[in-house]
C-alpha cells in the first residue's frame, strides 16, 4: 500500500448525492477530512449519515458526485481506494461463529495486512482482547464485540477510518479508553477519521470538527468546543437538539 502525502486530504467528497426515486437521501454534499483529523458527522436519525458512510465504503453507489480516498477516486479504482479504508459500526459485528483470532486472520488477508501476527498482537493488547483470542465472537458481550470490530477496523492501519457509533454499546470507562486509543492511532499514523455518534459528550471530547447533517444536507459545521457559544447555546447537545428540531432555521448558518 503506497503512502499518501501528509498534506493531501485522506477523504474528499464533492457533490455527493443519493436519490431513491423522488426522494433524496443525500443532497450534493461536499467536505474533506484531513490527516490527523477526527471529523464528527452528526444528525438525527434519517439525516443521511449512514447513507453517506455507505457510499464512502463503496457499498452504495452515489447518484452523483465523487469520493476520493487519499487522492484515489473510489468510483474508478474501488479496490485501491478501499485498501486505505476500514470501518466499524455497531450494526456490523463480525461473524459470531468464528473466534477473535479467526475473524482477524480472515480480515487480515482481505486487507493484505503485512506482518499480520505482529499487528494482531498490538491490537489484541490495545483493545484488551488477548484473553479472548480463541473465543468465538458470538459469546462475547456487546462491548467486547465492539472492541473486536474496532481491532478489525485498525488491522490495515487505514488512512481513512469510518466509525459509525463505535462506542454505542460500551460502558463509559471502556469508551474513554477506546477514544484515547483511536486518538493515539490518529496522531501516530496520520489517519483521518469520520465519526458518527449521538453522544455529544463523546463528540466534544474526540472530534476536531463536526458537521451537522439534516435531510441530506450539511447545515452547520465547525469546532465542537466553540460552535455552541457561536450559536448562543450552552452545550453541543443543546445545539444538536435545536438543529434536529428546527433544521430550516439553521439552513445557511454554515460558514
Amino acid at each position: 500500500m503506497s503512502s499518501t502525502s501528509k498534506t493531501e486530504a485522506v477523504l474528499k467528497v464533492d457533490g455527493l448525492r443519493k436519490d431513491y426515486g423522488a426522494v433524496s437521501a443525500v443532497k450534493g454534499i461536499g467536505f474533506a477530512v484531513q490527516p490527523n483529523e477526527v471529523v464528527g458527522l452528526l444528525g438525527p436519525n434519517g439525516a443521511g449519515k449512514t447513507t453517506t458512510i455507505s457510499m464512502i465504503l463503496g457499498v452504495l453507489e452515489p447518484t452523483a458526485g465523487t469520493i476520493e480516498i487519499g487522492g484515489i477516486d473510489l468510483g474508478r479504482r474501488r479496490t485501491r481506494a478501499l485498501e486505505r479504508t476500514n470501518f466499524a459500526a455497531v450494526y456490523a459485528p463480525l461473524p459470531g461463529n468464528l473466534t477473535v483470532y479467526e475473524n482477524l486472520r480472515v480480515f487480515g488477508l482481505l486487507y493484505s495486512v503485512k506482518d499480520f501476527h505482529q499487528r494482531l498482537e498490538v491490537l489484541l493488547q490495545q483493545f484488551d482482547l488477548a484473553r479472548f483470542r480463541n473465543t468465538k465472537c458470538g459469546v462475547l458481550s456487546s462491548g467486547e464485540q465492539t472492541r473486536v470490530s474496532l481491532a478489525k477496523a485498525m488491522l490495515n492501519t487505514p488512512r481513512l477510518l469510518l466509525l459509525d457509533e463505535p462506542t454505542a454499546s460500551i460502558d463509559p470507562a471502556s469508551a474513554r479508553e477506546i477514544r484515547e486509543t483511536i486518538r493515539t492511532f490518529v496522531h501516530s499514523s496520520g489517519a483521518g477519521v469520520l465519526w458518527t455518534s449521538h453522544n455529544m459528550y463523546e463528540v466534544e471530547a474526540v472530534c476536531d470538527r463536526v458537521m451537522f447533517l439534516s435531510h441530506g444536507e450539511i447545515i452547520l459545521s465547525g469546532d465542537p468546543k466553540r460552535l455552541p457559544a457561536e450559536h448562543e447555546k450552552s452545550t453541543l447537545e443543546e445545539l444538536f437538539i435545536s438543529v434536529a428540531r428546527e433544521p430550516l432555521n439553521w439552513e445557511g448558518a454554515q460558514s
Binding site: Y20, V59, R78, T79, Y91, A92, P93, L94, S112
Partner: protein, 267 residues
C-alpha cells in the same frame, strides 16, 4: 486478482468446518446414506431381473455423479449463505475484495468440500457395492468436469438469486437439483422423455453426461465430440452465472441492497 483475498474466503470456510463437528458431518453423511440406499436398491434389482442390464454402474453410478454435482452446487451456496446468515456483507464488501476474488474463494472452498463427498461416495460404492469405474473408461474425466462446472454455475446463480431476493429466498435454491433431475435424464435414457422435455434437456450439460454414462456401461460408442460440446456448454453456463452474479451485485450496490441486507426486508 489477489490470491490472499480469495484465500480469506476459503480460510473462513475451513475455520467453520474445523470449529464445528455438526457442520462437517453433512459433508459426508448424506452422500453415504444415498450410496447405501441406492447400493442395496441396485443389488436388489440385479437379483430380480433376468436382463444383462448392469444396475450398479448405470444406477448407482448415476446417483454418485448426480450427488457430486449437487454437492458442488451446495458447496458454493453454503459458503455464500455464511455471509447471509452472519449478516457479514457490509464487512466483506466494504473490504478491497473484488467479485472474481469473492467467487473464487467460494469456488475454492467448494472444491475441497465436494471432493470430500466424492471420495466418501467412491469408497462406499466401490468397497461395499462393487462399483467399478473401469465401466466408464476415460470418459469419467469429462463426466466429472462437466458436472463440476455446471454445479458451480448453478451454485453461483443461486447465490445471485438470494442476493437479489433476500435471505428468505434461500428456500428457492435448495430444490433446484430436484427440479433439474427429471430433465437431466439421470436415471433413464433421454428417449424416455417427451419432445419438449428433450429440448430442455439438450440445454442442460448433465444430460449428455448421463447419456454418455449409460452408453459406456452398455459398451456402446459415445462421441467424444459430444462430451467436448457438453464441457463447453457447462463452461458457458459458468461464465453466464458469473455475469448474472456481477449484474445482481451491481444492482445491489446501486440500490443499497448490500448496505441494508441484514434488514431481511429486501424487495
Amino acid at each position: 486478482m489477489k490470491i490472499s483475498r480469495l484465500a480469506a474466503i476459503a480460510l473462513r470456510q475451513f475455520y467453520l468446518y474445523r470449529g464445528s463437528f455438526a457442520r462437517a458431518v453433512p459433508l459426508f453423511a448424506w452422500v453415504t446414506i444415498d450410496m447405501v440406499l441406492w447400493g442395496f436398491m441396485t443389488k436388489y434389482l440385479n437379483g430380480i431381473t433376468q436382463s444383462k442390464f448392469q444396475f450398479v454402474p448405470a444406477l448407482l453410478g448415476a446417483v454418485l455423479f448426480w450427488d457430486f454435482m449437487t454437492r458442488v452446487m451446495q458447496g458454493v451456496s453454503t459458503a455464500f449463505f455464511e455471509d447471509v446468515w452472519t449478516r457479514n456483507f457490509l464487512n466483506i464488501f466494504s473490504s478491497p475484495i473484488t467479485i472474481p476474488e469473492y467467487l473464487g474463494g467460494l469456488l475454492f472452498s467448494c472444491v475441497v468440500t465436494s471432493m470430500v463427498g466424492l471420495t466418501v461416495m467412491i469408497v462406499v460404492a466401490t468397497s461395499v457395492f462393487g462399483l467399478s469405474f473401469a465401466a466408464y473408461g476415460a470418459m469419467i474425466v469429462p463426466f466429472l468436469l462437466v458436472l463440476f462446472f455446471f454445479g458451480l454455475a448453478m451454485g453461483i446463480a443461486g447465490c445471485a438469486i438470494v442476493l437479489r431476493l433476500g435471505p428468505a429466498a434461500e428456500w428457492f435454491i435448495w430444490p433446484i437439483p430436484a427440479l433439474m433431475a427429471p430433465f437431466s435424464a439421470v436415471y433413464y435414457p433421454l428417449a424416455t422423455l417427451p419432445g419438449w422435455m428433450r429440448a430442455v434437456a439438450r440445454l442442460l450439460p448433465p444430460s449428455y453426461v448421463f447419456e454418455g454414462m449409460r452408453a459406456a456401461v452398455a459398451g456402446q460408442h459415445y462421441e467424444w465430440a459430444t462430451l467436448a460440446a457438453a464441457t463447453a456448454l457447462s463452461l458457458v453456463d459458468l461464465f453466464l452465472s458469473y455475469l448474472f452474479f456481477a449484474y445482481i451485485f451491481r444492482h445491489a450496490v446501486r440500490t443499497g441492497l448490500i448496505a441494508r441486507y441484514s434488514a431481511e426486508s429486501v424487495t
